[in-house]
Amino acid sequence: MIVLIICIVLKILVVVVPLLISVAYFTIAERKIMGIIQRRKGPNVIGFLGLLQPLADGLKLFVKETIFPSNSNIIIFLIAPMLTFILSLIGWAVLPLSKQIVLSDLNIGVLYLFATSSLSVYGIIMAGWSSNSKYPFLGALRSAAQMISYEVSIGFIIINVCICAGSFNLSFIVLAQNNVWFVVPLLPMFFIFCVSMLAETNRHPFDLPEAEAELVSGYNVEYSAMTFALFFLGEYANMLLMSAFVSILFLGGWLPLVNLFPFNYLPGSLWFSLKLVLGVIFFIVTRATLPRYRYDQLMYIGWKSFLPLSLGYLLLSVGILISFNWLPT
């Protein structure tokens, strides 16, 4: 029994520790890539090429004083960042990193991921509301409304994928892409999903709820030091999670580009990492390139563009699969 518990803990650490290191180096990657796009160098002082910058940032946040606003509800104020961080980590439990390398191979893995991303809305609402200040409150409301709006279209897109694959199991979904990745038949859905995941993670150009000019950093304005670090880590872990999710749903997960030598000689986890890095670069380049959407434009896109499109494409997918007897069961 004890050996079993130790094995489970070790498996979790093998996933979580590299994830946290990735999140830390995601921040330096973002700053460096944005710097290159803006024709300047990013951080290059701390360590060789600035590679120790995340450690310096982490240390800074760790030693700073955590300020608790006197008007805030302390218990919920503290629970909110913990909830956000925990939810962004537990989503990784069902992601298959390679063939038979997965923490928990749930048959309802997609539903589980969807549920955790929906629960993260609570963390944001709790953060904004417990701060007891108007800017974070407004930011939290806008952020939560934005997230639930884009989750609807994400849900329909996921149904598209699951109908083509015939399962909610993420490993099955990857194996179903052996012949062709789902990005080919579901190309418009892939684009809509990429944009929706920007909105879901409150990233640029959908980051109005946490834009400094508009809402003074939004729902996490009252947070400092470690609590802010938890929000920060949670947001970046969420971005990595979404990149991994899109690579599993549309880009074949751990499957190679072409099932020929030398592509299939490389390990599956390497292919998965490459696709995840593509998603990360997409997040960063989009942030450096595009202007921000106004809030009403943001909501218009979510409800009046993406939702009808994703629903219509779902009907198209189902119609085609039924008509030609191509359903998976």
Partner: protein, 177 residues
């Protein structure tokens, strides 16, 4: 005609040359020269007025609107290409799904074919264990009678329904540590 105001202060430009606005009507480059017999050149008042007109034939056409080059595939070509790609993708998905269904059916047929053999093996195993237990039961219950006073028959059922009930698995495993 000499200007009454003085060429330097007069705002009129049409009868003063630029040269006349300089002191002594001399350009800076001419100040140190020894040619002092130069006179101011004033246009006669009978000459026609000079108007700033476009060049003969007019100016070239100026494209002041935004420059959006029309290059790359046309819209209809993109639609056709994307539709072809998507339909090819659905075809591949359909092929994969049909192959998977066929594989599942094959596995099920294999299981159906093997079921009698597997059942026979299980029955054989059951009987081997049952015989061992019957021998043990016969030895334990040799001096015991049943409820009707008859000698105990090893293997007799615990139930009165008359229906044969197989042993539970725990029954076979009860002697294992």
């Amino acid at each position: 005609m000499n200007c009454l105001i003085g060429s330097h202060f007069c705002p009129c430009s049409h009868h003063h040359s630029p040269r006349s606005r300089h002191s002594n009507s001399q350009l800076p480059s001419e100040k140190n020269s020894k040619n002092t017999s130069r006179k101011m050149s004033l246009r006669p008042s009978t000459a026609a007025a000079i108007q700033d007109m476009p060049p003969p034939g007019g100016y070239k056409k100026l494209d002041f609107a935004r420059y959006i080059p029309d290059r790359g595939p046309k819209g209809w070509q993109l639609w056709v290409g994307a539709t072809t790609l998507v339909m090819y993708g659905y075809y591949q998905v359909g092929k994969t799904n049909q192959a998977r269904i066929q594989q599942k059916m094959q596995e099920r047929k294999v299981r159906y074919a093997l079921a009698p053999l597997m059942q026979a093996e299980a029955d054989r195993e059951y009987m081997e264990r049952e015989l061992v237990n019957l021998r043990r039961e016969a030895e334990i219950m040799k001096d015991v009678t049943d409820l009707k006073g008859n000698p105990w028959v090893p293997g007799s059922s615990q139930y009165f329904g008359g229906q044969w009930m197989p042993r539970k698995v725990s029954y076979f495993m009860r002697h294992q540590g």
